[in-house]
Amino acid sequence: MSEVTKVLIANRGEIACRILRTLDRMAIPGVVVYHSVDADSPAVKTAAESVEIDGPTPVAAYLNVESIIAACKETGSDAVHPGFGFLAENPGFAQRLAEEGITFIGPQPSTIELMGNKVAARSFCMDNCFSLVSSVTEADAGEDFAECARKIGVPILIKAAVGGGGKGMHIVRELDGLDQAIQLAKGEALRSFGNNEVYAERYVEEPRHIEVQVMADHHGNVVHLGERECSIQRRFQKIIEESPAPNLTLELRQRICNTAVEIARKANYLNAGTVEFILAPDGKFYFLEMNTRLQVEHPVTEMVTGLDLVELQLRVARDEYLPLSQDEIKAKGHAIELRLYAEDPENDFLPATGTLLAYRLPAGKGVRIENGFAEGMQVSSAFDPMLAKLIVHGRDRNQAIERALKALDDTLILGVTTNIDYLARILSHPAYTSGQIHTGFIPKYGEDLSPPPLSEEQRNLLLAAAALNSREFTDPAFQVPEPYASLGDWRN
């Protein structure tokens, strides 16, 4: 039986705060590690215990396996929660922890390895007869990869074999561009993940991204906690997620969820995981990949099921039985998560940096905030530009959208460009409100989603506000004295 008496969180930002909250509720001491740039972050301030770690860059610090193990020993932590990103899907890390007798809160290293390589994950699914989009891998095709890829027929999607987050993904619509796309994808994959292996698959037009949260214990129990719709994406990254997925028949929903459970079962999966599917407009769905960790968007599931996924993770890690059977898991109402990013939607979503001069997040009925920042903090380009997550719950989708819009209106972030207004424009778009969504939503409605033009009055009001807020304009040191001021531009 694994001991989980003190948990070190090998992460930062909002997810570190979120894990601390559950640990606190369960009376398990929590420890955070941090790089000095995060010294003033809410996670470090909230945690009873924290250990500074270092690296050539801030990101490298959080990827440094040995210093995290040293921090565990120093603090007497017997378990590590990796959160998501950083070391969450690194089988070597899970392995090293096992060697040190520290519990990794997540699946077995072998599962991580299996699902971490998309090519391996695909052959696993193929072997087990789960449906996949037709595809070809470099490993299988070797020299003939480009030739085989050509046979799939356009549109083709080229993807990196390892990694995620949309990096190294290219859609090919004309076969002429295939070779170039492969080269680009390989280059980006190498830079991002240190591995230039890629694969090609048939690109499903206007696909929906549906994923299923699963949970498995050491005693062979596997349950699903319903699906999440994650189709609103920019640069292949999710920005709005919701549960349940809109406009899905009960039958289809159940088929998808059951398939996810089957995949997890076949993989001898342990702890929390997410099976991602591509849902085509014709109702066919295909296995995409499995994420062997807690997802960024897990709060959506928590809001509809009323469960605490981190608590379940901890219990499973302690070899406990899952406290609920599939029948006991009931979804109620509708939840939407909005990812607040420091980025500029009007400039190709390029990340933005700056100081959070005003940082006020909403509160209220049905509103949940996951946040790792505070007013006055710097947003640097060192980390992912996500500032916070805003999750709302309503009795149905309409009420959830309404609450989300109200919550966005109550949000004030000044000093750093964010996507808040952009998110509000998506939520107000008729295609979104009617549930007509797919992963091409943002490019398709790009024009509708750009901000409305400013009237001259609005422009002048803004300029006036800027002028009167600025010392340049209001400093009495530069005020024109009398009688000059009242003479205007008189010339004798």
Binding site: K167, A465, A466, D475
Partner: protein, 167 residues
Amino acid sequence: MQRRINLLDVHYTVMVVGHPEERWLKVEAGEFQSVALKSMKDGQGIILLGEQNVRMKMAVKGETVYIRAFDRTFTLHIVNPVEQAAQETSGPGNTARAPMPGTVVEIDVAVGARVTKGQSMMTIESMKILTVITAPRDGEVVQVHFEPGATFGKNAALITLSKKEEE
């Protein structure tokens, strides 16, 4: 006081006259309108301009004013007149600046190197996109502001060239 204010990448000439109790404002060649700012707590304020009044949320950092109004968030920058005149009248400046925040991947030039216009000086990465920073004009490198691996914000000075040479 007159300054140019940058709003959505357009410069507007804005003039404010009067004293704290009574001010007038003019945008470009428009009419003077009475203007006032009633500040409330928490960065909220009401801006009065002529007959109009609008509630806004505002924050200021240096010469940059951030405003949330009309369901949007705006960044307005008050342009320094000396820098503005220098830019307008003397072409490309002495410093290559970051077009976006990112990380330095590679540096191609050292202090003292002579560069020609358009020559690659540095490669930066932002959101996994590589961008090459080129020399804005001919000159000599006098300062490289970052080392490989360092992160920087938008508009950060990356490489400074020697002062404009006499023609």
